[in-house]
Symmetry: D2
Subunit: 280 residues, 4 copies
């Protein structure tokens, strides 16, 4: 049977850029990590080594810098849209351009109570993410949150589960629930105002996590997704990927002590992993 | 519009296990990192917190240990098959079980020329990977290689590419080509003998990389995939994900020196990324 | 010449513990990563395999858990002091015990404006560190900060430096200054009130960084150290280790644009490294 | 009390360089990661911002590239010696130069049985390290090995240790012993032939690990150090830092099975840490 090239793409990843807007009274800064990927009429590149339709990935990198210079700082969603439009317009050989961006969030440092005009620190571990996938006919925008660690010491149980001969887990009415939120959601076509939406979604998710009386991480995931889709009509779909970061209660009985939910061991491996998409 | 649960799964990741087979004359060892994921009739877990069909992820972990004890050391593909069969047989609520395994490869240490019976070291950075996805009707087996760094100092060019106003890259007839191979391939149904096949595919890929006069990384990727599909009829499809690890020639002119392809800077970011699937 | 054992130690590292204090109206939490190291009369362990004086490192780990249960949550400095005292009292074979602790800082999540009683998130990337080194005669307490990223877009220059035939760096009156603060300081004997001191030192260092008109990272390091020693008499010495995280101005001239301090590339390697100790 | 500057240094870290020697019949390659640190007459840099004696760290980086171009590929020890000599000769303000180098080891790829002239792969995870610390009066050369994972499934026990009320560890006559070797040793003044010595030391250490009937990791550490000092008179001192990488026997009794040393869980944390220096 003949061999043929199926799905293929090429691009540049980890293009880092730090932008400074120098206003009269203050500086604003933004840090991005951008990845660009092209799909298109590239069969002969692979089969014949014909590079005539290949815009170098080095040029993709330069284009990220050039557009960062041309456009004022805005949301990462808008920056991804500028990049996909730029590449599609100038490159007829392309069928699809995908741009992913991860934003490292910065906050102003303070001197006493006064926030500084030009001194900054990382706002936390959390990242803001966006993805635009654009073809000649359609543009799909995703936004998201990565690496947001949340934990509850109350209102979390895991009981009534299935048991088999290898089940040793005990029922738990009062466990620690901890996860590293990775969420991404898809907007309806034509949505703008990404800044307000991102902050709103973040708030809805965290409040759902906080309020929810959790019967399992699946149960909490669903409550978080439902809150977002319930609060924001312009969001068509949300995907949550939640590792169950286990905090194991230490058995202190061999040391002659009880342990009424006070001393735990946080662990990295193994971990549960709960993933689901909620849609309309 | 009503909200509904679309694709969802749950499981345990990073279940590590190290197995020792204690033979009369020698020990054999194997190290795995296993991930199990279930899909099935789990809507009410999410919507109602009903755990009655939920086999705990802790039990998945225990099952990995139990099957590692029951079965002798074999290929990771066979171990994944044992796990998927075990879970599907006992859990009617499941529609699909996916097991991924990553093998850390060990080699025997030597004393003088003599390989030791019970002393070992890591064989390298490279990992052997496998994935089995089994439903009630179908079982799909993938194997792969991750993290295999290869580099050529000759027979690699990148010329004749498209230029636009942001293109500054120079043509290069004699560049360093370096990549970190991540390959995975899908077997035809019913294939066994995974050990010989894995070693054969690895050899085909490396020899294609070595032999190929590269006109681009896409060109080399295709040659590697073609070699594998050409050499092994039992492989239906192969996917390669190849970062272009840039080794930049240092411009020594400002230091008063030439640099005829002798001094390079290896870089981590940004990097190119070439991905393609070859199929029949 | 005879071979002899010089400095030696043994211990347990990365003992992780998460503590919950369950008060009527709220929970408090604390996460630590602890390392314990013993020095003492251990020559025969090495030379003869005589373990009779070796308290297992597994017991060190258990002791961390036990003391976390026995004592209420307090500063990491106090916890390190409890551990060193415990081990020295019971183990006459010890000459010195060193305990290092790294605290992952947690903050309360909010629902609307209301901080939650039992829901938390990571406070940031920054870690609080402490070290106690105790012998039969002396106890030395260090505190510190690790992994605190700070950056200035104004008031930083680097000019007037030495040049040789390999110097290509341009003078810069207006560069970005960025570093990842790693500081540790030594207290005078008998100091307590570690909580207020740590917060005070952190504030002094950040304000010095913010205020300082920097002529080099060395210059800023000194200003930071001087601020701390000037503000806190109970601190005898401070050591700062400051990587110079380079943010390189992108040369946009080849793309037909200027770049008046707006578009930079953050880099991980290579980086400068400035280290100094200030003492009295 | 007056504040004063005590120990201080500045330099460039993570200067990466990849060298190719293009011989008629084959290419040779070498990859280094270099760090340079200066100590000297730098008080006024810190206190006054006077940069007149500061050779920029950017120039240190350029110098690494320039010397990599000027000198043929050799051992990393020789390259560190070239760098320290270069900087000391030209910079009277320096009291000491320290250069650390880490070598990523490369091996030739094969086609069939034939080793290739210009195609390579990483030789493993292990790194070769060197350090030269040179003042106006003295030059001290260290070599070492980092990140070499070794493991034994036989001939390792840990028994007869001290117990207290928190000791739960069981005696073990047949445990897995695993560690990640980090060794560095100091040469007598004037030693050359670093290539043969490094290979010899590596062989001595591994053979000692393999042969030794281990009563503890301390006991094995000492045997390894003793072998090196016994075999090589030109080595004055060796320091070993050996994490005890725990492979925990899984308790399968709750799953209705025994486990005669067959199924283990490799763990990352917590881990033991054994460190010692052997000297003459």
């Amino acid at each position: 049977m003949a061999i043929r090239l199926a799905q293929n793409s090429y691009g540049k990843s980890r293009v880092r850029v730090f932008r400074v807007a120098r206003h009269q009274d203050r500086h604003d800064v933004q840090e991005l990590d951008v990845a660009v990927a092209f799909e298109g009429d590239f069969e002969s590149v692979h089969t014949l080594g014909d590079n005539s339709k290949v815009l170098p990935t080095d040029t993709m990198k330069n284009t990220v810098y050039a557009l960062a210079r041309k456009h004022p700082i805005g949301t990462i969603e808008d920056f991804c849209l500028q990049l996909t439009a730029h590449f599609l317009q100038r490159n007829p050989q392309l069928w699809q351009v995908q741009v992913d961006a991860t934003e490292t969030l910065w906050a102003r440092l303070a001197h006493g109570d006064k926030l500084q005009a030009s001194a900054f620190t990382h706002a936390g571990e959390e990242k803001r993410i966006a993805q635009v996938r654009a073809t000649r006919g359609e543009t799909v925008v995703h936004s998201g949150i990565a690496n947001l660690f949340v934990l509850k010491t109350a209102d979390s149980a895991f009981e009534g589960f299935l048991r088999d001969e290898y089940t040793t887990l005990k029922q738990d009415r009062n466990r620690i629930l901890a996860t590293l939120i990775h969420a991404d959601w898809r907007y309806a076509p034509g949505v703008g105002n990404f800044e307000a939406l991102w902050n709103g979604v973040r708030k809805s998710m965290i409040e759902a996590f906080v309020q929810h009386h959790s019967l399992s991480l699946q149960h909490t995931l669903y409550a978080m997704g439902q809150a977002v889709l319930g609060d924001f009509e312009s969001i068509l779909e949300i995907r949550l990927s939640l590792p169950n970061k286990h905090f194991n209660l230490v058995d202190l009985a061999p040391l002659g002590m009880d342990n009424p939910g006070e001393v735990f061991v946080p662990t990295e491996e193994p971990h549960g992993l709960i993933e689901a998409t909620l849609t309309r």
